[in-house]
């Protein structure tokens, strides 16, 4: 059979399966298990309504339990066992081995650098772009263009930026945009940007800032639009300068949204993997935790230490997770 036809068939079966489950399970509940007739009609209806939410929830909970809850527990267990000893329990040995590796500390240091710079950079640029494009005629076009990198995959962006950082010998013309600019500005010789320790981290971060700025801009520009005009009017009448209006009137009013954007990008940064993997693969001191873990699992084939480093990422995410759950709880109460 033609593959496209096969794909279509799979989709039809899947969708009709979903509808069938939804319709059939509700029917079964209402007609067979707790029918709304006979002597116990009141009790039956109540019982059916107790069970119904779980009918709707069951497929999602099952899928998430299998692919999310179970793996988290399993990784915790794996991080406490040793592969060479046939999966025996070894306590915190993997963790102490990991803490003894300089590569791990390098990854941790770089992750903190990423955490400091990328959310700040993307949010700052996003805020700037949102403000500057807010009241000009071609603002919407500018926004679309700034936002476009967001639609490109991290790997695709990595490949594109590799071209930007590309380096050729001194005597040939430079294909890399950065080297072309560098020589144009009077730089002595072309640089291999991605191999300069410490600085190369920043060259990688630029890629993520480039991608995430569009996201920050979209959210923040929606927030800027929501600011009541009267507050700005009042400030203008009082003789505030545009800078004062921006920093003292507008920014404080959208602080909540700025925090949300900041934490969202922080989460992306903690998991950053594709960009480093595609561009340097952690060489030249650009290792990050996610890539360190991938290295351990796929190259060294050591799932003990790999899982341990995954738990470190989890640990770093936990404060954001708890904070979010608490703020959602506050909202719903």
């Amino acid at each position: 059979m033609h593959p496209a036809l096969l794909g279509l068939l799979t989709i039809v079966i899947g969708v009709s399966g979903c509808i069938g489950y939804f319709y059939g399970s509700n029917l079964l509940l209402d007609k067979v298990i707790f029918p709304a007739r006979g002597p116990n009609i009141g009790r039956n209806i109540n019982r059916a309504n107790l069970i119904r939410p779980w009918l709707f929830l069951f497929p999602a909970i099952f899928a998430l339990g299998l692919y999310l809850a179970y793996p988290v527990v399993e990784t915790l267990r794996l991080s406490l066992t040793d592969r060479d000893a046939g999966g025996a329990f070894v306590g915190l040995q993997n963790y102490s081995q990991m803490f003894g590796e300089p590569k791990f500390w390098e990854a941790l240091r770089n992750n903190f650098l990423w955490l400091l710079i990328v959310p700040a950079g993307a949010t700052g640029f996003g805020l700037l772009a949102a403000q500057l494009t807010d009241r000009i005629r071609w603002g919407n076009l500018a926004k679309s263009l700034i936002f476009m990198p967001m639609a490109i995959s991290f790997v695709g962006a990595g490949v594109i930026w590799k071209l930007v950082y590309e380096q050729r010998p001194v005597d040939v013309e430079q294909i890399g945009v950065l080297n072309a600019i560098w020589l144009g500005l009077g730089g002595a010789e072309p640089q291999t940007w991605l191999t300069i320790p410490l600085w190369n981290n920043f060259f990688l971060m630029i890629v993520l800032v480039w991608i995430q700025t569009g996201f920050a801009m979209v959210i923040l520009s929606a927030a800027l639009r929501g600011i009541p005009e009267e507050t700005i009017e009042a400030a203008i009448i009082d003789g505030a300068s545009p800078f004062q209006i921006f920093f003292k009137i507008k920014v404080p009013q959208i602080m909540g949204t700025i925090v949300v954007v900041w934490t969202t990008i922080t989460l992306v940064v903690l998991k950053v993997f594709d960009i480093v993997f595609a561009m340097t693969n952690g060489q030249w001191e650009t290792q990050v935790l996610a890539n360190y873990m991938f290295d351990k699992l796929f190259r060294a084939n050591d799932w003990g230490v790999g899982s341990a480093s995954a738990m470190i990422i989890m640990l770093l995410v936990t404060p954001i997770l708890v904070w979010n759950v608490r703020s959602v709880r506050k909202e719903t109460q």
């Binding site: 979903c18 929830l57 500018a142 929606a222 927030a223 203008i236 954001i320 997770l321 959602v328």
Partner: protein, 282 residues
């Protein structure tokens, strides 16, 4: 158009503002422009060092047909479609139901389930890697499009459920109450009243999930290998490794790989932005 502080400034400042902005835009798009330009150059131009001058020949059609005939990029693209489309449909179907249940019903443990969905949203995906890989191996789905799609459906369902739940919460409760008073069955309420109202949320999520899945690379490397089952992000990575010197082909490949999400983004921008805004601000 009030206030317009910039128009009250001096003429010089206005000029500066109006010229600085387009220049900043060009700088911003420079990487993309460079890639687009490289993708239409000939191999001869690149070896001869003609990167910034006028191309000696425009190889638009040749380069772009080359990547489909000389590299397996076409089959990678097709795999991406086979992973992405079922995932979007599956995750949306599941999350419509679970979002409805969480938004409409009060039952024992509803808050607990809801918080589990919130928490699940923040779990770093790396932590799932080894067990999910083992699980997929055990089910015999390793290195298959089905295995990859199944995982994506499960993982995206968490995020989509939250989104749907918040959206349904914002609908007027009176609609459901009125229907109940009329004696409409619960499943008919879901199917005929709530589902049609959820169209904007479904559109926004479909666009968002499509982009997420199309652009995923991590799970593609973890759960698949080889051109017969890997999606286009993985294809691009291996293309970049094999064709180090052939920048014109790599550039054309990265543009082709980025085309579907970028096209969707431009066509359905409204939904895309609605999705992001709703998802972030709640």
């Amino acid at each position: 158009m009030f206030p317009t502080p910039i128009e009250r400034r001096s003429v010089a400042l206005q000029r500066l503002y109006k010229t600085a902005l387009p220049i900043a835009m060009v700088m911003w798009l420079l990487p993309l422009i460079a890639v687009a330009l490289t993708s239409i150059r000939s191999a001869g131009d690149i070896t001869a060092g003609n990167y910034w001058g006028w191309p000696t020949s425009f190889n638009l059609i040749q380069n772009y047909s080359d990547i489909f005939t000389n590299t397996p990029l076409g089959s990678y693209m097709w795999n991406s479609v086979r992973v992405t489309v079922p995932t979007v449909i599956g995750a949306l179907a599941l999350s419509c139901m679970s979002g409805f249940a969480l938004a409409v019903y009060k039952f024992k443990g509803d808050m607990l389930v809801f918080f589990m969905f919130v928490a699940g949203n923040f779990v770093p995906f790396q932590i799932l890697m080894v067990p999910v890989r083992d699980l997929t191996l055990q089910m015999g789905l390793y290195n298959s499009v089905t295995g990859l799609a199944l995982f994506h459906i499960a993982f995206q369902t968490g995020f989509c459920t939250l989104f749907m739940r918040n959206f349904i919460r914002s609908l007027p409760v009176e609609l459901i109450e009125a229907a109940r008073v009329e004696g409409v069955k619960e499943w008919r309420i879901f199917w005929f009243i709530i589902l049609p109202l959820m169209r904007p949320a479904i559109a926004a999520l479909a666009v968002l999930v499509f982009t997420f899945i199309w652009n995923d690379y991590f799970w593609a490397t973890v759960l698949t290998q080889g051109a017969e089952s890997q999606p286009v992000t993985a294809g691009l990575y291996s293309l970049n490794g094999q064709w180090v010197a052939a920048w014109h082909l790599v550039s054309a490949g990265s543009i082709v790989a980025a085309l579907p999400p970028v096209a969707i983004f431009f066509l359905l921008q409204k939904h895309f932005i609605a999705g992001l805004t709703l998802g972030a601000v709640k």
